[in-house]
């Protein structure tokens, strides 16, 4: 008896906590019935690979949101980093270019945070618009550098194409390289979030900036760190992105920010900051990928996909608000 009741209540909490997850499961079940190929290993690999750039950026964004902020400039950053890396491949070689790109990601994050801290834009809404402006500027810079051209990796690179090809297509055992990068990132970031002083500081900053500051928590350093993490993860995302697509255009990152925020929020990280986890974002990102994967397999047009994505975002926030009130 008691056991049953407990099971029931666990199910209830799960249902409450993960209503969206259940919704997605329904979608998955429908898809696998209508389109049996959904359950093939090919599709799993497929999902694993599409998951790559999105989850990497989303992990970074998770920290920004945990600290109570938001970063819309991932769109611009991703493009700009890709352009920089592309430009550097010839002069300094592929692997150095990757590292310089990652360093630039950190730099952009650092810059974003400084603008926010210096101006005292300590609410999410302010950060939203400032990073939007910065995103536009980053895209503009990227286009100034690339002169608006598609930058193509395969040209003059046949000899040294391998490093990117390895990132884009390589496997270690059953796992794609991008998945391994993801595992590596999640390990470090989860450790950072749950085990380190700065990770806790980030959480406290998101939970209550004022109280945290009074308690001697370095809130400004936390803000800088989350934006830098986001920048670095975006840069890694950019590298995985370009190694898959092998080209760089400004179209590559349009709409990225909404997908990323969608992933973080659907995972159950609280938009107001302080609550949530990078682990949850994995679920969120998986959901985002599954939505488009399922819909593509079901042959649903891009229009319906947009409508659904927006609606899911609204419903997720709404449910979250209901849970908290």
């Amino acid at each position: 008896m008691t056991k049953q009741i407990r099971l029931g209540s666990i199910f209830n909490t799960l249902l409450k906590e993960y209503t969206i997850v259940f919704g997605i499961m329904v979608l998955v079940i429908i898809t696998s019935i209508v389109e049996p190929r959904f359950m093939t290993s090919g599709n799993m690999v497929n999902i694993m690979r599409q998951f790559g750039p999105l989850i990497l950026v989303a992990l970074g964004m998770t920290f920004v949101i945990l600290a109570g902020f938001i970063d819309l400039s991932v769109t611009g950053q991703l493009f700009l980093v890709a352009v920089i890396v592309m430009k550097l491949i010839d002069p300094i070689g592929q692997i150095p270019a990757m590292f310089v790109g990652i360093a630039f990601g950190g730099l952009f994050g650092y810059f974003n945070s400084k603008v926010i801290i210096f101006s005292g834009a300590l609410t999410q809404a302010e950060a939203l618009f400032i990073t939007y402006g910065l995103s536009t500027a980053y895209i503009g810079i990227g286009q100034m550098i690339s002169n608006g051209k598609t930058m193509n990796m395969s040209i003059d690179l046949t000899s040294s194409y391998s490093a990117f090809q390895y990132v884009g297509l390589g496997f270690i055992g059953p796992f794609s390289i991008s998945f391994v990068i993801f595992l590596f990132a999640i390990f470090i970031l989860y450790f950072f979030q749950s085990k380190t002083y700065m990770g806790r500081s980030v959480m406290l900053t998101g939970g209550n900036k004022t109280a945290a500051r009074i308690a001697g928590i370095p809130i400004y350093r936390s803000i800088t760190i989350v934006y830098m993490i986001c920048g670095i993860m975006t840069a890694i995302g950019a590298i995985v992105f370009m190694s898959r697509a092998t080209t760089v255009t400004s179209a590559m990152s349009i709409g990225l920010e909404t997908d990323v925020i969608l992933a973080v929020v659907l995972g159950g990280t609280y938009l107001g900051g302080g609550r949530g986890s990078v682990l949850r974002t994995i679920i969120g990102a998986l959901i985002v990928i599954l939505i488009s994967n399922c819909m593509n397999l079901l042959g649903i047009t891009i229009f319906w996909q947009d409508i659904t994505r927006g609606a899911i975002l609204i419903i997720a926030i709404w449910l979250d608000a209901r849970k908290n009130n």
């Binding site: 497929n46 051209k149 092998t246 255009t249 179209a251 590559m252 042959g299």
Partner: protein, 322 residues
């Protein structure tokens, strides 16, 4: 009331003369051989092909004793209209419009005509019935590109085949025409289009993701892919590679003739790119402008032939700059 009307009437005749380009005494006398400023109104400088076209205008204008300014409509129809107006305000002699939305641009074109400016349509023409709002059109026929693509498939697969279509940016003029012209031709053949999906943007990554999913869904049934642009086809090839499918054994068709497309044809992965010759298009536009400025009559509709770049014909082409 009355005064205005006469003024308007006068303008109308003026417009007429410009279009016929014979008897506009003012223009011919004053501007023959003189340097004139022209404005290229780019639909979206974020789009590589359009940015390339813009740069061509800037480079080659001086060959025709012209000076080019570029306006960026950034994919926005409002901005495009206001760019035209700003060009008018700057007193340019000619504008070339690479439209985001051919209907939305018409009122602005009317203003340009009213101001006595030469109007050239670039890449996409005005809708039927509005031809007198422009002096000439230079471009490739996107409908033709769709038809060529379909014909290529039909020629390659005389016994029929199964293919998929990865479309360009949903709602973009080129995407609409390429798909619209491809579809009836291919459906009259024995080739089956398994699936067709457009992208949100002209984004390689989206083409890749869609192709990924097509592969899951149709697997080895896919014998060919029509992708609306070469950059997208790059993604398609990546997806096929990743799935371990033999790209060389498949019939892949793209449009644009951009660096990636030509390179892919060279590599033997892509079988055909239907190239748009932007160089020719730009030069032709400038040439026509000079002619109109010099008072000559010009043909109003100028389709620049498509270049069909295949492994066989690849040697005839100079490697593109975009």
């Amino acid at each position: 009331g009355c005064g205005d009307k006469t003024e308007e009437a006068a303008e109308v005749t003026e417009v007429g003369t410009v279009e016929e380009t014979e008897t506009n005494a003012e223009a011919t006398v004053a501007e023959t051989g003189d340097e004139a400023t022209i404005a290229f109104i780019c639909a979206d400088m974020g789009n590589p092909s359009q940015a390339y076209a813009a740069s061509l205008f800037e480079t080659y204008a001086k060959d025709y004793n012209l000076k080019a300014v570029v306006f960026n409509a950034a994919g926005d129809a409002q901005l495009e209209a206001s760019s035209v107006q700003q060009a008018i305000a700057q007193g340019v002699s000619a504008i070339y419009v690479n439209p985001n939305d051919i209907n939305a641009i018409l009122p602005a074109l009317q203003e340009a005509k009213d101001a006595g400016i030469i109007v050239g349509m670039f890449s996409s023409d005005v809708p039927v019935g509005s031809e007198d709002l422009r002096d000439f059109f230079v471009g490739v026929d996107d409908n033709q590109a769709g038809v060529e693509a379909a014909n290529a498939f039909i020629a390659n697969f005389p016994d029929g085949a199964k293919i998929v279509e990865v479309g360009g940016q949903a709602g973009h003029d080129a995407q609409i025409k390429r798909h619209g012209a491809f579809e009836p031709v291919i459906s009259n053949s024995n080739i089956e289009v398994l699936d067709s999906q457009a992208c949100d943007q002209w984004s390689t990554d989206q083409a890749l993701a869609i192709m990924d999913d097509f592969i899951v869904k149709y697997g080895d049934d896919i014998e060919g892919v029509f992708c609306h642009w070469d950059g997208g086809l790059t993604g398609v090839i990546q997806a096929l590679d990743a799935a371990g499918m033999d790209t060389k054994g498949m019939f892949l068709v793209g449009i644009d003739g951009s660096q990636s497309g030509v390179q892919q044809v060279m590599d033997g992965t892509q079988d055909l790119t239907i190239g748009q010759d932007f160089m020719e298009m730009s030069k032709k536009s400038l040439e026509l402008t000079r002619a109109v400025l010099d008072g000559e009559t010009v043909t109003t509709q100028n389709f620049i032939p498509l270049m069909l770049v295949t492994p066989e014909t690849i040697d005839d082409f100079t490697f593109p700059e975009w």
